[in-house]
């Protein structure tokens, strides 16, 4: 039961991430890539993203301190950062990046700085949520994501249900 509950919680968390606009379709693409040969693919990609993109944020921070502000460099850095973010489906982050770039094009230094704060905020928020999500997923053990039901033969299904019930009885 706990397990079941956990799975439900995870599923809800996941759903909320989508509903609240933190994640978009691209994330689903990543999930679909995950399979037995790469059981933690999504988590690996997200971790890689956060590791790699940190340097862009740092560079942008640095560039924002410079006077006069070098908008083309900022734009180029943000372009890279944004494309990374879109590749993992970080929707809100991407939106803020777009705002940033439009300020950049308008050479609006204040706007840039403001939106960059937003970018960082969304970035960090998403990071926390995803960390929670992945942690829960790991704890809950391999689960079948609700959106990807495994297809079992009737016999297999029966066996799996029986063992699941047996385990839940044991756990409770």
């Amino acid at each position: 039961m706990q397990r079941n509950q956990m799975h439900r919680q995870i599923a809800n968390l996941r759903k909320s991430l989508f509903d609240q606009g933190y994640l978009d379709e691209q994330f689903v693409q990543l999930e679909e890539l995950q399979d037995n040969s790469n059981p933690n693919f999504v988590e690996e990609v997200v971790s890689l993203f956060y590791r790699d993109s940190a340097r862009f944020l740092y560079s942008i921070d640095q560039a924002l301190e410079k006077r006069p502000m070098d908008f083309s460099t900022l734009d180029s850095l943000m372009h890279h950062f944004k494309s990374s973010s879109t590749s993992i489906g970080a929707k809100k982050v991407k939106t803020e990046c777009t705002h940033f770039r439009s300020h950049c094009n308008a050479r609006n230094a204040e706007g840039c700085k403001r939106t960059f704060q937003q970018v960082k905020k969304e970035y960090t928020t998403l990071k926390k949520k995803l960390e929670t999500y992945f942690q829960m997923s790991r704890q809950a053990g391999p689960i079948e994501v609700e959106c990807r039901p495994r297809v079992l033969s009737p016999f297999q299904y029966l066996i799996s249900r029986i063992s699941y019930l047996a385990l839940s009885f044991l756990n409770t």
């Binding site: 890539l33 890279h80 494309s83 990374s84």
Partner: protein, 662 residues
């Protein structure tokens, strides 16, 4: 993978060669299924090379491609990718590359690959703006994907491989089977997925028809992929020029070239590419441009031209594919570039790749005339130095040439160090230093930092023509950051000073990369862009042919245009962005305008300068012209031309292109 018919075989071999091990014919290439020789398990096993500097994207792409059952190799740097491709000529079927990469522009990589390996390349970027996508198309990308890339988009990339093979196959047999050439329409095949089938059916049909084809000597044999080395390309260009671009037919070219093992089909496909390249160059700039001489008029804006030339030369040099550029040419280029300006304007690194491209095309064909600024010795002395400077570029520059380049004292350009190495047969002293400057202006430059070794060719895709900041005296070394595609630019400064004419000519050429140079030039007021003209030093006599013939050359962008105003320059600039060697005959446009934008990014453009006095040489056609000729042409030009126009930013005024020998 031998199918029965000769055609099939040929096709198969084409496919086989490129596909290497992976789909070697499922059962003889499924001979029965249409002769396409596409194995049954195709597209599984398609060998994909992915290049992207973003590790997140790279990881995702790799996984997606693996899920499509493709064989994936990933690189995060363009250089690495190119070396993969070079080491393993037939090791990949398709390349997917990002547009924005730190070490090399994706478009440059695209051009390099197109030139050297002729693989289908798919670009991708988060940037979906129309002009970037357009750029991808014009540079020859097979497709353009917008990030984030979905797996569905990747599933279909095999169609590009098939399509390319089909075109290659068609290219190979142009004339003999001209009537059969057009595959019979298959009304029921409508989708691209069926293209493969269509193609296979066509081939099968042709196969049956062409059994007795007279060209079977080549087609029936399994031919390994021909690599167009620099020398080969030079020979090709020479042959084309000799015949006249309009009259150049593969058979005759083949005869002229007299290269054992080369087939008419190889020549035909190469010619087609060459024509496309030329067309692109000329079309983008000015429709009439091609015909006019390369030597720029008195326009001062040589800087740009020279820079472009240098770039182009570099690019040519860089394109290792063609083999080695004559050292001299490179040397001259470098010299020119370096000689021109000692102050490096801005190290604009023109991707060496461009140079390679250019050289690949240009070298074999044309003897790059070294534009040797004022002093011949420049190249001599400088060359050796410079050569080493260019990283990874095997510089075959002859020392003397190089030295002359260096010494040509192109101070006139002041700070522009362009490495315009115009591989010249070895003389040319008066290569316009301008070119150097121009090159630098064009943003190519890395002033004086390294000498572009003309010989770039194989070794490093990126010919880093950083112009060593040679001292003023050296001037001739242009450092085209990145590409000195201009084989013929010999940036000898010495000549520059004296020759306005060259300068002007060069400037006209709208050397794109030389924007910066131009600005410098303008400031310096020295318009000795003799080098500029040199960008492509062509023999005046040969000009005509070259111009005509170059149209088709896609990789080498020959821009023959005589822009009489800024627009041309702008156009050149756009063209310049092409990675391929861009030979631009930039007339009269104000390079200055372009300056800003074009930095190194653009492929080297060899600017063909149109000589006003009729003895202009198309620098672009430098490839076609012997170095000596080019040099001579430039020199002549310089002498003949009056002081250019320094009034304009770069003194680009429309050249009187009329002089150019048509």
């Amino acid at each position: 993978m031998n199918l029965g018919g000769g055609n099939n075989k040929q096709q198969q071999s084409m496919m086989a060669s490129s596909s290497g091990a992976s789909w070697k014919s499922g059962g003889g290439g499924g001979g029965g299924d249409g002769g396409g020789g596409v194995p049954d398990q195709f597209p599984a096993g398609l060998r994909v090379l992915v290049v992207d500097d973003d590790p997140t994207c790279l990881m995702i792409l790799e996984k997606m491609l693996r899920n499509c059952n493709y064989e994936v190799t990933k690189c995060n740097r363009a250089e690495v990718a190119l070396s993969h491709l070079r080491e393993n000529k037939n090791g990949f079927d398709v390349v997917i590359s990002d547009v924005h990469m730190p070490d090399m522009d994706g478009f440059k990589l695209l051009e390099h690959i197109g030139l050297e390996m002729d693989l289908p390349v798919i670009m991708m970027s988060a940037d979906d703006s129309k002009n970037v996508v357009m750029k991808g198309v014009t540079h020859g990308a097979c497709d353009y994907l917008i990030k984030p890339v979905r797996i569905e988009a990747l599933r279909n990339i095999w169609q590009h491989v098939v399509r390319k093979k089909k075109h290659e196959w068609k290219e190979v047999e142009p004339s003999p089977s001209a009537d059969e050439q057009k595959p019979p329409e298959e009304p029921d095949y409508s989708s691209s997925a069926n293209e493969g089938h269509n193609w296979k059916n066509t081939k099968r049909r042709k196969d049956e028809d062409d059994d007795a084809d007279d060209r079977d000597d080549s087609s029936s044999l399994k031919k390994p992929r021909v690599v167009w080395s620099v020398e080969l390309h030079q020979q090709f260009v020479a042959a084309v020029n000799q015949l006249g671009i309009d009259k150049a037919v593969p058979k005759k070219i083949l005869e002229l070239m007299n290269v054992p093992g080369l087939t008419r089909e190889n020549v035909a496909s190469h010619l087609q590419k060459y024509r496309l390249y030329l067309r692109r160059l000329s079309g983008s700039q000015h429709p009439g441009g091609m015909n006019t001489g390369f030597m720029g008029g008195p326009d001062a804006g040589f800087g740009s031209m020279s820079s472009l030339n240098g770039l182009d030369l570099q690019a040519l040099a860089a394109s290792g594919q063609l083999g080695q550029l004559p050292p001299q040419s490179l040397a001259t280029l470098q010299a020119a570039a370096l000689g021109r300006s000692n102050n490096s304007k801005s190290p604009i690194s023109v991707p060496v790749l461009d140079q390679r491209n250019i050289f690949s095309f240009e070298n074999p064909k044309s003897r790059y005339t070294e534009v040797q600024g004022q002093s011949q010795h420049l190249t001599n002395s400088g060359s050796s130095k410079h050569m080493n400077l260019l990283p990874g570029i095997p510089t075959n520059m002859e020392p003397k040439q190089f030295a002359s380049l260096h010494q040509s004292g192109q101070h006139s350009f002041g700070n522009v160090n362009n490495q315009v190495l115009i591989p010249m047969g070895g003389q040319s002293q008066r290569q316009p230093v301008i070119s150097n400057e121009m090159l630098t202006r064009g943003g190519v430059v890395d002033m004086g930092s390294s000498v572009y070794s003309p010989v770039v060719s194989q070794s490093s895709p990126l010919v880093d023509f950083s112009v060593n900041q040679k001292t003023d005296s050296v001037g001739s070394n242009y450092h085209l950051a990145g590409n000195l595609g201009i084989p013929n630019l010999t940036g000898t400064s010495s000549t520059l000073q004296g020759d306005r004419s060259l300068d002007t000519k060069v400037s006209r050429r709208g050397i794109v990369p030389s924007y910066d140079i131009f600005s410098d030039l303008n400031q310096n007021g020295s318009r000795d862009w003799s080098l500029q003209d040199v960008g492509l030093t062509f023999d005046p006599s040969q000009q005509h042919t070259m111009q005509g013939g170059l149209d088709g050359l896609s990789p080498v962008m020959l821009q023959h245009n005589r822009p009489s105003n800024r627009e041309m320059v702008g156009q050149n600039r756009n063209l310049a962005s092409n990675n391929k060697v861009i030979f631009s005959t930039h007339n009269g446009s104000n390079v200055g305008q372009q300056r800003n934008s074009y930095v190194g990014d653009n492929s080297l453009r060899v600017k063909t300068e149109i000589n006003n006095d009729g003895s202009s040489h198309n620098t672009l056609y430098s490839e076609q012209y012997g170095q000596d000729d080019l040099l001579a042409a430039i020199l002549k030009q310089q002498q003949q031309e009056g002081v250019g126009q320094s009034d304009n930013d770069f003194g680009f005024d429309s050249y009187a292109l009329d002089d150019l020998p048509a």
